[in-house]
Amino acid sequence: MLGFLSARQAGLDDPLRFRRAESTRRNHPDVHKYSVETVQWYPHDTGMFTSSSFDKTLKVWDTNTLQTADVFNFEETVYSHHMSPVATKHCLVAVGTRGPKVQLCDLKSGSCSHILQGHRQEILAVSWSPRYEYILATASADSRVKLWDVRRASGCLITLDQHNGKKSQAVESANTAHNGKVNGLCFTSDGLHLLTVGTDDRMRLWNSSNGENTLVNYGKVCNDSRKGLKFTVSCGCSSEFVFVPYGSTIAVYTIYSGEQITMLKGHYKSVDCCVFQSNFQELYSGSRDCNILAWVPSLYEAVPEDDETTTKSQLNPAFEDAWSSSDEDG
């Protein structure tokens, strides 16, 4: 999937139509050779963005000229990368590849010699903490999630354990975050909690300061993706929500209580990724059916009728099952 930059058109009353602003053409000399897995804007301004792909490279692009400013080559396919949104003292990009080592690439110097060792299989997701600029979380196919402080030479800070250290519940050896591969990682917007999803069809909420499993039970969160699953959390809502791609729908849960609010149906094939825009409180989701949909909260409240004696229950109107489809044109 090529990275698209899109521009919004009208206000909320008109259906949103995304216009593709720019894209790299297929005969661009620097285009990726295989599927692009992760794209991220430079956190501080939009002059630069990074993209990583299955062709074992991480490319840094200049937005205005659409040329690559730098290329980092790796020995294995790159599953995911992330740059810290709050970092001021470093410009490290964490890269998760098919090898068991997490690589940190420095944008200032162009080197990628900093390696974090500790996982045993491929790294499927990496995420920096939005609260502390040196804390990194990595998730791997060996069922482990590790929290690292990148300044520390001697290994990870915490390995998350789903049983919180109680041997009595663990079937196999402890210290696993899930009973299968761990596919996706997302910090909550304040950085105090971490959500992980795994191929055991579970989603878990962890306290990111001590690595404790909060044991919130979301039920079955179907996950049959063999690569990473990119899910997202809301930011700025009164009770925060997590939006998880669930087959061809998107499941919406409240984070701290585990209740499923709704399933957003609109895509025709499996949803690969979704991202939340906190300024407009909108969710954008991309899927294999070649569409990006924008999900807008319905802003009107139900008008209470005069002849009803009981008042309608006040649901949070922000995410009440309204979707407006927006097809990308071209």
Binding site: L215, V216, G219, K220
Partner: protein, 258 residues
């Protein structure tokens, strides 16, 4: 003279039968709110004691509790409190990682005492089982026991632990750790797995792979289902193997698409 008919043709011929509106009943099995303890008490009523000749204590499953208490986090928390207070025991039923059986401690103790001691009167492991019931059960509320816990804290020797495994009270999990088990639960697990598969098959074979709950409960029970349709339906709903959709005709069970 008015030639106009004052009654509609279908009414004249009695085609439109007026349906009697019976009292609106709450859908069976749904709409129970309350605590986890009330849910477990209700579920053990559904357990068919006669099928096992009273040799097994009534076992409920964690997924069944989820179907009665809709908020899973609250249900988990309440079950954990009950476990810590010693009112229930949670047992790992080997067929699934998440399948935990819930038994009231009193029931467990009386059944194990009655049937195991009856079966092994005079055999060497009666003493070990007595000691286990008296000392370990009240002290440690976990699902499993470790080697050093058993030998040092509770003073069991290795031959005694082997006797406990032979009696069926413990199941080997790893080198040096054991699950708590219910003696004679193998038959229950076999019936349960077959029955779950059979009830799921009933929904799968229905047209559009969905069935009204009231219709499912009213159907003839297939031979593979020995524990009762209601018991299995609670488990399927709680384990999210079927989706529960509320319609105007009641609850509908539908197989999930994926």
């Amino acid at each position: 003279m008015s030639q106009k008919r004052h009654r509609l043709v279908p009414e004249t011929f009695g085609l439109k039968r007026r349906r009697e509106r019976g009292p609106v009943e709450a859908d069976p099995l749904r709409g129970e709110l309350g605590s986890a303890r009330a849910a477990v008490a209700e579920l053990v009523q559904l357990f068919p004691r006669g099928l096992f000749e009273d040799a097994l204590p009534p076992i409920a499953l964690r997924s069944q509790v989820y179907s009665l208490v809709p908020d899973r986090t609250v249900a988990d928390r309440q079950l954990k409190e009950l476990q810590e207070q010693g009112e229930i025991r949670i047992v790992q039923l080997g067929f699934d990682l998440d399948a935990h059986g819930i038994i009231f401690t009193e029931d467990y103790r009386t059944r194990v005492r009655d049937c195991v001691l009856k079966a092994c009167d005079g055999r060497p492991y009666a003493g070990a089982v007595q000691k286990f019931l008296a000392s370990v059960l009240p002290a440690c509320g976990d699902l499993s026991f470790q080697q050093d816990q058993m030998t040092q804290t509770f003073g069991f020797r290795d031959p005694e632990i082997t006797q406990l495994v032979n009696a069926g009270v413990l199941t080997v999990r790893d080198a040096g750790s054991w699950w708590l088990a219910v003696p004679g639960a193998g038959r229950f697990i076999k019936y349960f797995v077959k029955g779950r598969h059979a009830v799921l098959g009933m929904v799968r074979k229905a047209k559009y792979r969905e069935l009204l709950l009231s219709e499912l409960l009213g159907r003839r029970v297939p031979a593979a289902v020995r524990l009762g349709l209601a018991y299995h339906v609670h488990d399927l709903i709680g384990a999210q193997l079927v989706d529960c959709v509320s319609t105007t005709s009641g609850t509908l069970l539908r197989l999930p698409e994926t």
